[in-house]
Amino acid sequence: MARYFTEEHEWIEVDGDTAIIGITDYAQEQLGDVVFVEVPQTGTEFTKGAEAAVVESVKAASDVYAPIAGTVIEGNAALEGEPELVNTAPEAEGWFFKLTMSDKDDLEGLMDAKAYKAFCDSL
């Protein structure tokens, strides 16, 4: 298993062909109180960079883009009743969706935890 990070503040947990995707602690901090998350339906196919989910706080709504291409296996149903999981456990129970990756090359160039921390510190 390996965890990757994007400059759009998403994390990707990779296990074989499967990837779990969510937003980082830094991102939830910027958003403030999350009140609603729209996760994609199972079976949806994404190209890299496609609009995949929407996360809303009181004052802002942001699109979450698919950082890698793939087919959705599962959206996190728990977020429907408890969107605050994105604030309390962004990089654990607050995950957004699971994908079967269609192209592992998409992971090239993404950051690891250390590089991401350095990236955030530079902002």
Binding site: G32, D33, V35, F36, E56, S57, V58, K59, P83, E84
Partner: protein, 521 residues
Amino acid sequence: MNQINQSGWKPGTPVASIDGEKHPTVTGNKALMLEEALIFEIGDADTYGVDLPYTPTDLPGRMGKFTRKGEIGLPGLSEPQTVRHYTRLSRQNYGIDLGFFPLGSCTMKHNPRLNEKVARMPGFLDVHPMQPIDTVQGALGVIDELAHWLITLTGMQSVAMSPKAGAHGELCGILCIRAALEARGDARKVVLVPESAHGTNPATAAFAGYSTEDIPANKDGRVDLDALKARLGPDVAAVMITNPNTCGLFERDMKAISDAVHEAGGLVYCDGANFNAIMGRVRPGDLGIDAMHINLHKTFSTPHGGGGPGSGPVVLSEALAPFAPLPFVEKAKDGSLRLIEEENMEEHHASTFGRMTAFNGQMGMFTRALTYILSHGADGLRQAAGDAVLNANYILRQLEDVLHAPFGASGPCMHEALFGDAGFAEGFSTLDLAKGLIDEGFHPMTMYFPLVVHGAMLIEPTETESKAGIDQFIMAMRSLAQRAKDGDEALLTAPHHAPRARLDEAHAARKPRLAWSEPEG
């Protein structure tokens, strides 16, 4: 008690259980500050405040099987209870009548009561939109006279009167532009909008089927003319510009912008939200504008009413006039006025893009706006713009030593003064300063808009504020700015003296409770 209100507290019950309440009363009331429960809690299905019973009837009805079977579940109140309920609610509101309302880009000016009196004359209030035309010549006269004023003040060719509010007017203008481009077989796809624009601009352009792109701004808060020129081309349908812009500045290059857009085959939409600053001082038509909506509820003093109704007539250039939506008023050869609708359209009306609303626009707002305009006259409107701009510049210069004024050095502002939150102590924001203003007895300014300034505070005093009132506001702002810089923690929990402390907006949005239902326990 329900998911949202877990303590179950409601007006009329003791507040002793609520933390932080000093000197609690058993009713929850505090002298003149009276709590008021919901009509669903104080009313019931058997009470009413109107004349009943009506004549009982044993005639068979003609509604067939479609009559209502169950209870409607609507609570009623007697007339005395009703008057008291809404009077108490009103006292939990801030309004222009009560104090200074410096809400940038909203032009919260005094609402003259003559307007209200006139709008209630039976010949205006009690007239049906589909009455025979001979019985409504006075109503059409109001529309015609107001239209004449709007066209003349703006130096434009015509005006579409029916749009219901600013955003509706904006949509009307963009739809006219699209219709005009289509009529010449020109399918352009892009609308350029400055970053500092009102959120309605991109929303409107997107609705009309256009993609939007940002126009870059230069360092002094205005459109970057060279960058705009570089972007213009055969794919650009229009630019949408606010002038004076949302930073409170006049776009010096407006005429050059319009000329460049026209040369590239596009059209110019101007968001007229800030027309109050320039009425009688410069005519948008002379600046090359093709369409501009006018918010009668801002510039021409019709009341905001707690969020509407607005009214948004759109003045149009010669290029766009033929595409205006139905209905519109036209003068016949005999001097009588006609309402042009689908029924009596003639060949020269055929290019209209359609209809935006069921009837004739916001007549009740037209009578108020015309009354205001006639009161001021051409000289008074010009003076009003001048005083509005003077008041804003006075505030800008009296506060720029204590608050960061990002464009303070680029000359006079128009009708609003813009500040940012630079220099506040760590953890203190524009929101905290604004909530502090509430305690000082003022309505907060517009916050976090425009987006181009960090922690923006946009202050629009309008011309109807006295110098003494403005001086008091300046005193409050100087004190609050200092407290924000010093990190006075009491600001973080302000307001302390309002009917409610800060409300939990996240809670409201996570499990929305949008209609009343019987308590759960």
